[in-house]
Amino acid sequence: MKPSKNVGILGYGGYIPVYRVKTSEIARIWGRDDDYLQAEEVAVASMDEDSVTMAVEAARYALKRAKVNPEEIGAIYIGSESKPYAVKSSGTIVAEAIGASPNITAADFEFACKGGTEALQTCIGLVAARMIKYGLAIGVDTAQAAPADELEYTVACGGAAFLVGPKTENTIAYFEGSTSYVTDTPDFWRRAEEPYPSHAGRFTGEPAYFRHIINAAKNLMDELGYKPEDFDYAVFHQPNFKFPVRAGLMLGFTRKQLEPGLLIPSLGNAYAGSALLGLVAVLDVAKPGERILLASYGSGSGSDAFSIVVQNNPSKGNPTPFISRLLSRKKYIDYAEYAKYRRKIVF
Amino acid sequence: MRRVAVVGVGCTKVGELWDKSLKDLVVESATKALDDAGIDNIDVVYVGNALAQILQNQSNLGSLVADCLGFEGIPAISVEAADASGSLAFHEAYKAVKFGWADKVLVVGVEKMSDSSSEEVSKALMTFEDQDYVAFTGITQAGIHALLLKFYMEKFGVKHEDIAMFAVEAHKKASKNPYAQFRNLIKLEDIFRSPVVADPLRLLEHTTLADGSASLILCPLEEAKKLKLQPIEVLASSTATDRFFLHERADMLTFNSTVKAAEKAFKEAKISRDQIDVVETHDSSTILGVISLEDLGFVEKGKGANFVVEGNITIDGRLPTNTMGGLKGRGHPLGATGVYQLVEVVWQLRGEAGENQVKNVKVGLTHTVGGVGSFASVNILGCLG
């Protein structure tokens, strides 16, 4: 999919909460080996944070960079699988918090971990069609995992926001195109009344994650006529450490291209925030002229791939914290506090 | 305009009175006051109560009190000014007699708190402050007092221990008051061993849930002379307010409501501060007790704690204060407190204060605060003739 008019990124922001729990601490509680762990520690939202509050923080960072009048934002889309209201759009609250209401369209997107990149695609489409001037796309989650489930060792909280608009010479980067690959593949899901997701174990690998990401990325590169060497960075959805690295290598990327976007070891998997936070980390270090491949993955399943070209030095004059700073700002909590903050103790 | 006298007083004990309902408390204190005055009918009743609507789900207290006392058909007025409701009720009653509107007026202060949990009460106490921007932060009344305490200590370089002495003094007098909630003596060590309620304020520095009712009867001084040997005259009664938001006040540590009410009262009574023999002031926490003594003008701002530590507020001190235990020792049944203070000053003036009797009492002052200083009332009673 190539937009008819070029669309660029005017501002972006990532938000990671302060608290961390070490995965070795989680392993201690459940009596697991800790040499299996894919992340060293994961970010945990406080009692008074949720997907909406984190989305507001990320959005405010994006707006600080973009310096646009919030009333000119025509759409706000939030991708999340941990919406605090099953019915009441998170976008309504975020729009109000940034001063963008009421002349705006808003909706929440759900497609597991790729809700945020869908929001991005939709904003790109609306901007390219000149139906809106600016669009705000957010991917954010307070990722859920049942106590003692394997997922507990990777799930995390965090999110990222992107303000997109017409490409100009001042935009930070622009989109060359996007491709999606979607099928009905039940690898990981959460039924409507359930608090925690379920998954099909090893089925989440080859037929799910790999099939969709590889196809989306390949189709994108074919459509645009690119090879892995044409990219400087490749960012993938990170449910663990092995998958994004293996997918990257399978597609022909090198570890050097993958490393800047790999946050899982110190952040964990923030579901719909994962790939977009990886993109933020890459933008923090990217230089003008560099090209980024971004491929998210949402269980159920699908993958959205994008090609992004950097125009202006993203880190220059950045008034908001870098991802590296957000990652280094941390306070450790133990499993008991973790269970309390993540509402695993019901009271 | 007529001169006004207090001719009857009565009160219940203060405490967690499980057996007594709101109505039971009212009947007990009011009948005691009526008997004390030797009368059995009144023209109008004024009721002071702070939280019955919230904690007891009971409104329309004026009519309720008139009914349970058997005074059919009389006018009944219920007033509210947070924890100064009792003083406000007295103030209104005083005006009614002073301006010739009524001849025999009953003032009833009542509060029933122990039916509710501490959390419900904590939330209810915050109804005295702005709901949308102060209570909304989750701060408690103790939390606001804690901010004042910290600010005061930093500004004036005063030790927490010195401020905490206010509570030690309170219990000393309360231990000799048969109506008091707390009869035990406490030491500074006890205070600093008690849990922190809101940093750095300790549990034993702050009042707690209390039930109680106090009543008094007012009538023109001329009529009083016919009824009693030694009528107690109301020399002044005044009220004032201050900015509702603590943080909007020029000086958070001065309650202008108290300052203004005191100024007006001393002017009305035509007496000076050194003529005051006893003071009943508002120590819902130790820091408020200290600030109150300063705002009333008895001691310079910043020197209140020192004044207490030097022994000036004891029964035989320079300025006997909170002679029956004050809010901390006798107890603080919110809307009733203002009337308890008046009853206690009357006891002092009559020589009926028992072990806490101050010598040669001719003039007494009561001072009650609503919320964190957004309202204040000062009353002066005397036995000058």
């Binding site: 406080s46 700073r325 | 943080h247």
Partner: protein, 135 residues
Amino acid sequence: MTIASAPRYWREIKYRYRLIGSRCLKCGKIYFPHRHICLVCGHRKLEDYKLSEKGVVEVFTVIRRNYPLGYEKNAPYIVGLIRLEDGVKVLSQIVDCHPEEIKPGMLVELTFRKVKEDGKKGIIEYGYKFKPIFR
């Protein structure tokens, strides 16, 4: 448990989300929270005024007991008086730090957090809190 009032919450949304107070059109005095009549000059026309989002902590306490119903889950929490860059003071919770880490004069900035929830079925009330400035 009382059911939180949705309309009452809704009326304060823009003020609480974006820290909007009032400014007197006659004497320029700024207030938070918003008000209709100027306390200084009595003027009746005040406009919406967006307050600064940064300030310093003047004094704070930690609420440790008797939490008002609905606030107990965040216990214990810090509440402080913050003097914003434009001189206006605001009472607010301070988050993302331990009490030992706060010193009077510490720089803080606005953040958006949950203030309370009306159980599992009622509305979530969001609003302003402050956190240590972070760059």
